[in-house]
Symmetry: C2
Subunit: 100 residues, 2 copies
């Protein structure tokens, strides 16, 4: 099982994500971000790229799509909080969003 | 603009959907359904088929995906409630869910 991020390791792993618009949930077990695209085509194109990455990693987002917006929540449920699975997927999602 | 469903027309259009697990939101401006698949592959496959239909119709769902579940809300915002755009998309979604 991937270990929970804690202490300085956690702070260091989250810093670049917080700088890119991710926020921690109040209970600190997840990170969230709202991606806004130009239209549904771009939003769902992003989701499709992320779906393939998520399936390959066997680590999936909790996400909501309303037309051109995609609200994402990432957490590692079997670890009870944030792990590198989340921070790495978050980074990949930012990269995928930059492609459109 | 597509007209709001009202009266007997509304009742008749909703009946088959309510029988298939759709429910009206308390404010009656939307219908909802929770689709449960066997895994993420099936859930996102369903979403991809629906995305293509939604884009073609220019009528999009509000939906949330968590691993193998997809929670859908349909409403026609510029009409302020349910129209045939919603009932038709709901029917197509049930058909798409049956393919997997």
């Amino acid at each position: 099982m991937t270990e929970l991020l804690q202490g300085a390791t956690r702070t260091e792993a989250l810093a670049p994500l917080l700088a890119q618009g991710w926020t921690e949930t109040p209970d600190r077990v997840a990170i969230e971000k709202r991606f806004v695209f130009r239209n549904f085509n771009e939003a769902f194109g992003f989701m499709t790229r992320v779906a393939l990455m998520a399936e390959k990693r066997d680590h999936h987002p909790d996400w909501r799509n309303v037309y051109r917006t995609v609200e994402v929540t990432l957490s590692t449920h079997d670890a009870g909080g944030l792990t590198t699975k989340d921070t790495e997927l978050a980074q990949r999602m930012d990269e995928a969003a930059a492609y459109v």
